[in-house]
Amino acid sequence: MDALVRIFLKLFVMKQKNEHFEELPGFPKMETGFDVPEGYFDSFGERLRLRMEAENLSSRRKKIIFYLKPALGIAAGLAIMLTVYIYPPGNQRTSTLASVNNVAIGSDDQSELLTSTYASLITDGQFISALSEMDEYDASKMPKEDLADYLASNCSDFEILNANK
């Protein structure tokens, strides 16, 4: 056994048996010898941030999406209702929508009236003020996994970017 290894082993075993053992001067504590690429720790935070953004984990992005969610939900609901009205299944217009608004079925102005009725439910101004008046959503109350699933299936980047202008 070479001398260095013998010394190391003796010190190693002595140290492990006695927690108060002082290392001999000049004999360094054994480090692992592992190293990292230059600048690794300086850049780690940024790389982590980019990965989390790619995985939709940023809290800022979530906040924007939560403010928009109810408004987008309303808009989507209206779009569906209008689509069903304009292109009804089996060419039958429903009477429900018209009757709610006291419009006689068969009226020439029916479609225009209905469109304007629903348009009046949410004007641009109301949409914008709904966003600004909305209380800050407490994200901790909603399971994050549920949120991520909802975002992935319901909101596109295009919708979010354009609605936020």
Binding site: M30, F34, L48
Partner: protein, 182 residues
Amino acid sequence: MVDKDKNLISALKIAENKDKAFQLLVNTYQQRLYWHIRKIVISHDDADDLMQNVFIKVWKNIGNFREDSTLFTWLFRIATNESLSFLQQKKRKNILSIDGVSDYLVETFESDAHFEGDDLQKRLQLAVLQLPEKQRIVFNMKYYDEMKYEEMAEVLKTSVGALKASYHHAVKKIEAHFEGDN
């Protein structure tokens, strides 16, 4: 728990402060967590991936942190579990036996581009890699990190007595490994 940690945890649980608090958390703990993970999985690239996974898990689960341990203990525990899960996956994917994991780690170590130790450090590392996984973790935490047994017990959820026994056996095996080498 120290006040600094309490403040950090509180900030992490508030949506508007979370991003900044998380940045601080990463800056504060990244090095210590990295070296702990690295000593378990050996490869720098694997350690880098795992450390990102650890911080992402922390981001997702900070709301569930009950503060019944220190923040660092909690982080260390997640890092340990991620590293062990990684090795378990390696075992399953490559149908490795326990010895197979050791061989895999030795191979990884010998081909590691980010090792700059001397011959003695290399021989010690090879001796450590022969230990069973959990015993190796105990050895790393005690010898390299110089952690107190009580702190290790909190991280590993094992008794101090069991840890002392584990460390004692690890030292004996390393001693025998060196003597066998020569």
